[in-house]
Symmetry: C2
């Protein structure tokens, strides 16, 4: 068996020791005589798995007691509808559009009420985060929405927007658990787990309790009501049980690594190695305004599409995979999530240096 360095934007690399444990437990979890895949979600064993996962996540993020943690399905895309259907009491929300996913969220919300696009960076292919210190927040806005880290474009809000007292809702799919956050600054923090936590098919929603009400938009499907899932502790129906189990293992791994302060240090170290090289390289350059650079997703280009393709192909042969950039940015993108070891980034930069030396005329 030979593992590659996997720079996929998601689904993405997972900690090797988590995968090893999962493999070891596949036929017999903890003496139960069955796989977690075969386990009733109402069983004592599974109850322990999901409760422990929630507790570990609460510990890691320091989630206050007045926030619920929900393990749901449908990905971030389903949250794009669920958020307005549950939270738009006045029928108004403000969206900051910093990429394709924020745009989709805004478009979906427009079906359910007045969704104002109060800022955007689409004018420059979403390569920066707009100034959000004094935006025209609607007096009636039920919430202000951001996508905190933009996977495709490689930008991140380094400072949260000034919502002027309105509830902040954030999609953190691609920066989930990459650094400490102050949960109290948000009404809702949510993300698909398939980038930085676990296998696709689980979305985690951390939501302040006062936002969970029965007063949802008429016609909201039962399964799209936060209250239904909150009241049932995410067991209203069968949850994506195996995915949650893997997430739980990743939470344990993060705790063992030293928690989010420590992970942030490592993530900053990894990102610095790559960005420092991009800043000095004569062949490669980053595509994002420096102040807004993501710690997780690092897009870069050579400026020559043929050279980009050559790089991606040679990198793949050398064991660095999924480096092709998103079609809307082109070039390359290295996603360096929590589970990407420092050695992976060092090895990538070494390879890039070698490629540069061979290819720079």
């Amino acid at each position: 068996m030979s593992r590659v360095y996997n720079f996929s934007a998601g689904p993405a690399v997972l900690p090797e020791e988590v995968l090893k444990e999962a493999a070891d437990e596949m036929l017999d979890y903890n003496g139960s005589g069955m796989s977690v895949m075969e386990m009733s979600h109402r069983s004592k064993e599974y109850d322990d798995i999901i409760k422990t996962a929630e507790k570990d996540l609460r510990d890691l993020m320091n989630i206050p007691d007045n926030y619920k943690v929900l393990f749901l399905q449908g990905g971030a895309s389903q949250q794009f509808a669920m958020i307005p259907m549950n939270l738009m009491k006045n029928g108004v929300a403000d969206y900051i559009v910093t990429g394709q996913w924020a745009k989709k969220a805004w478009q979906e919300a427009s079906k359910y009420g007045k969704a104002n696009k109060i800022a955007s960076s689409e004018d420059k292919t979403f390569s920066y985060i707009p100034d959000c210190s004094d935006l025209p927040i609607d007096d009636n806005a039920d919430y202000v929405y951001i996508c905190e880290n933009n996977t495709i474009y490689g930008t991140k809000f380094k400072e949260l927007p000034n919502t002027k007292g309105k509830t902040l809702v954030a999609d953190v799919s691609s920066c989930f658990l990459s650094e400490p956050v102050d949960v109290t600054k948000y009404g809702v923090i949510y993300g698909g787990v398939q980038k930085n936590i676990g296998p696709a098919g689980v979305v985690i929603v951390i939501i302040r309790e006062d936002l969970i009400t029965e007063d949802v938009m008429p016609g909201t499907p039962t399964m799209l009501q936060y209250k239904i899932h909150a009241d049932a502790d995410s067991l209203y129906n069968t949850p994506p049980a195996y995915g949650i189990y893997i997430c739980g293992k990743v939470f344990k791994w993060l705790k063992k690594m030293g928690g989010l302060e420590k992970i942030k240090e490592i993530n900053e170290k990894k990102a610095k190695i790559l960005y420092d090289f991009l800043d000095e390289s004569k062949l490669f350059k980053g595509t994002v305004e420096k102040k807004d650079r993501s710690l997780m997703n690092v897009p870069f280009v050579t400026g020559d599409a043929d050279m980009d393709a050559k790089f991606v192909a040679e990198a793949k042969k050398a064991g660095f995979v999924n480096l092709k950039g998103h079609r809307s940015v082109g070039g390359m993108r290295a996603s360096i999530y929590n589970a990407m070891p420092v050695e992976g980034v060092v090895a990538l930069v070494d390879f890039m240096k070698k490629f540069e030396a061979e290819n720079l005329k």
Copy 2:
């Protein structure tokens, strides 16, 4: 490692060789150097996994070309809303209520239009299937809805209802792939996979193409539109990729076993062993009308709650787990899905005989 005989109603037993393969491939799928959990859903490798899964399912069920196969999230519970939101063009549908899940589907549909309960077996704790040969089908009904196998109560439609030309929609969660079906008799066949196919978090929808339209109810979330998923071949957003991979392995296993004709034979054999014993036992008896007995879920009681509890406890000690019945029926329930080997049922009946000999005064 010691595996138990797991009679869980779902999530439920999976073929041991499927789990072994999954464990073997956990760190390196097919020389890719990564787990399927870590794989981009847009990658060549994953495309092959999902396409092969679909093809094998089409082979197994002999699905005609004018039906789409969708791999979705949210379980059957989400389909309860998705079906009326997509199919109620006239705003009318007829529901046959043969258990808790059919009832929930009917209740959810009532939010979206006129959902007629045209038959029910609730008068006798859903212990039978009503006569559906000449029901008062609404002239304007967009579809007639059934839950084909009732997990909790252990009943199954042995004959499909006479829909008088209306589209039939069937929840087959607990009888999926348990025997051959004539797909052309249905407009929609769907089911959560966590009972008879794979891990929780995937729902498979087999839907006739003419039922897939843009003309959905106003306010239907994008993620709840069949057309969105059909047009994107289930890759509109990140699918529950690992779950689909396991389902694909189960499809391969079913083909190797000889397909659905053969599986039906085995399932009939297993069910006969258990039902024959129940019919002759002086201690245990089945709770369902004989003509409507499910091949998959077999509820039984002793008539004495203390004796039931004693049986469940002793069975567990002997390695027969998850035999406790659903609270609405009480007693016991043995779910004997495809992956439960004949030996498991034989061993259970042997244990029941022994228990009867020891406990019958």
